[in-house]
């Protein structure tokens, strides 16, 4: 039934447009974190490849993995832990490109709260995002030997909202921030960098791969789909490199595409500047060493709290097939 509907739907779409249609589901709302795709769209890079790309923004209750499983998207952006978790639950996602070389996830604490190093965490309240972003945190706590179930000598975990209020209102000693977003909000709120202690997941040895492009494994067997994805990745990477080089213009493009009208150019410029630092080291190809590190991080803390994956991923969780072709030309 599902296949029938999807097939009928695709057939209907194909007969309407001669260009190849690609639907991209983002992990979160329209912001500079996804600038590369919006730039590729606005500058006509997709069009040059003969693609007709629809970018679907995400939101708090939208899991991209679920959208692609339901046939609502052809390709999604998500973090690798979430993709691997989906794979273990029977949804075979494959990483076809990794525009983010480095992760922007950081952990920042107010010095007022008495935290100067990871040794001070015990007994403190720590803010974490959920919805797939909690996996590296739990891995880190496991590495530090801190209990997260509220027992003596451990830490109290709270699910922070998608902003920095928890820190500003002193409800948590530390919170998760993205270098390109919430960290800037903390500084904007009048707290200076020397009032903060910030930990980097990478330095702590628990980094995971962030925004990558994922597709369903069975569709990847289709040469026509492969060809479309090669074009898509090539144009997207062109968009990313253009965005890195033209921060202000990219930020403006993002703001233009934000349908809520609530994003400010100033903040998107900041975000684009920071995101550019993370994408700068990648030409789109995934570095196998980064993949191994992500898997090692996740396997270091297998527990009911952290049900990302329980064993090393089976099959091809990533492939260089698309990027090899996309980058060769």
């Amino acid at each position: 039934m599902k296949k029938l509907i999807t097939a009928a739907f695709l057939a209907a779409m194909a007969s309407q447009a001669s260009a190849e249609d690609v639907k991209l589901q983002l992990k979160w709302v329209t912001q500079a974190q996804f600038a590369g795709y919006y730039v590729a769209q606005a500058k006509g890079f997709y069009e040059e490849e003969g693609l007709n790309v629809t970018i679907l923004p995400g939101g708090p209750d939208i899991a991209p993995e679920q959208v692609i499983a339901g046939g609502g998207a052809d390709v999604i952006t998500t973090w690798m832990p979430a993709a691997l978790a989906a794979r273990e639950r029977g949804l075979p996602l494959v990483n076809i490109a990794q525009p983010f070389k480095n992760g922007g996830l950081k952990f920042t604490c107010l010095k007022d709260s008495g935290i100067t190093s990871t040794a001070d965490f015990a007994g403190k309240t720590l803010g974490v995002w959920f919805f797939g972003n909690e996996y590296p945190f739990y891995a880190w706590m496991a590495k530090l030997g801190l209990a997260t179930d509220g027992s003596e000598g451990g830490v109290t975990v709270l699910k922070q909202a998608f902003n920095v209020d928890a820190l500003l209102q002193k409800q948590a000693s530390c919170i998760s921030v993205m270098s390109y977003n919430e960290y800037g909000q903390v500084l904007d709120a009048g707290i200076t960098e020397d009032q903060l202690v910030t930990f980097s997941y990478k330095d702590e040895g628990v980094a995971v791969l962030e925004d990558g492009l994922y597709v369903l494994e069975d569709r990847l067997a289709d040469p026509a789909f492969q060809e479309t994805m090669v074009k898509f990745v090539r144009a997207s990477m062109k968009g990313w490199k253009y965005a890195e080089a033209n921060v202000d213009e990219a930020a403006q493009i993002v703001v233009d595409n934000d349908q809520s009208g609530a994003q400010t150019l100033e903040h998107q410029k900041y975000m684009m500047g920071e995101v550019a630092k993370l994408t700068a080291g990648s030409n789109g190809a995934l570095d196998p060493a980064d993949y191994e590190m992500t898997v090692a991080t996740l396997l270091a803390a297998v527990s009911p709290d952290n049900p990302a994956i329980t064993k090393a991923p089976e099959g091809t969780a990533w492939t260089s097939m698309i990027t090899d072709k996309a980058l060769a030309q």
């Binding site: 999807t6 709302v29 679907l56 939101g59 902003n163 500003l168 209102q169 707290i191 609530a262």
Partner: protein, 288 residues
């Protein structure tokens, strides 16, 4: 004037309490900042500083008013920054849900009144359906509708709104369609009226006052449903989406302005529905 005075005094009281609360709640930040800077502030210095913060805990009324004014009249209504535009998006969703809710509620009520088995088996579940918190179902509705190929995100929004608004219509219509008493039904029988005629000439007209009375509740419920639906459905546009983005980017003013825009929309909807109700009652000869 006699009726406006009490309302105005209550509103004035609310605004006064609001200002006091704003000073009290926003003062913490002023004191904290002073402490970080190593200075002290007196009470007299503190008060003005609570009135114009960028990220107040509780923005005072004039700040919200200014933001609301800017959102409503400060730009072209077609702009993405215009609250009129987002209000229209939410209004559209509300109306779709409202219409869907009315149709579904009325049809279900007709079936329930006609078939005893529907009454017995479906009615209890209709009540239970309202005790399921809709927010728990919202993500599921989004997934299922995208699974069915309905990629338009207005659809799940309207479904959520209809889920909340069909119930008051259903309950009132069941009551209304059953309002004619046995004597009236018997009379029609002696006229040899068919079931369809009885329905059209007696039951349906008798249910109208009940129907219109339920619309006010239904439209308010539909608006709540739409806003709840806009929070998770991708937060693209609409007042609910702006609330979310305002919350995410630590812009309380955007949040408050959207909230008040939603309040104004609610007020307008209730006014219009109330007007329709009165007009309908008048036409049908019921004393308003």
């Amino acid at each position: 004037m006699n009726r406006a005075l009490p309302v105005l005094s209550v509103l004035a009281g609310i605004i006064a309490i609001w200002y006091l609360a704003a000073v009290w709640m926003n003062s913490t930040w002023v004191y904290d900042q002073a402490e970080r800077a190593g200075t002290t502030v007196s009470f007299a210095e503190m008060v003005p500083q609570t009135m114009n913060q960028d990220r107040p805990l509780l923005p005072p009324p004039h700040q919200v008013g200014a933001e609301l004014w800017k959102g409503l009249f400060g730009q072209a209504v077609t702009s993405k920054r215009s609250l009129v535009y987002h209000g229209y998006v939410t209004f559209k969703g509300t109306m779709m849900g409202f219409g869907l809710g009315i149709v579904f509620g009325v049809l279900l009520a007709m079936a329930i009144v006609r078939f005893r088995v529907m009454d017995m088996s479906v009615m209890p579940w209709a009540i239970i359906s309202q005790t399921v918190p809709i927010v728990a179902l919202a993500p599921m509705i989004i997934t299922l509708s995208s699974q069915l190929g309905l990629t338009d995100r207005d659809v799940p929004k309207a479904v959520i709104a209809a889920y909340l608004s069909f119930f008051p219509v259903l309950v009132s219509m069941v009551k209304g369609l059953r309002a004619p008493d046995q004597m009236q039904l018997d009379l029609l029988k002696t006229y040899g009226a068919s079931e369809g005629e009885t329905f059209l000439k007696l039951r349906l007209p008798a249910s109208m006052p009940y129907f219109f009375a339920s619309l006010k509740v239904a439209v308010a419920a539909s608006l709540v449903g739409t806003i709840v639906g806009e929070l998770p459905t991708g937060a693209i546009e609409g007042l609910g989406a702006r609330m979310l983005i305002g919350s995410q980017f630590g812009e309380p003013l955007i949040m408050w302005a959207s909230l008040f825009a939603a309040a104004i929309l609610a007020g307008l909807l209730i006014l219009v529905v109330g007007f329709v109700e009165r007009a309908a009652r008048k036409r049908m000869g019921v004393p308003a």
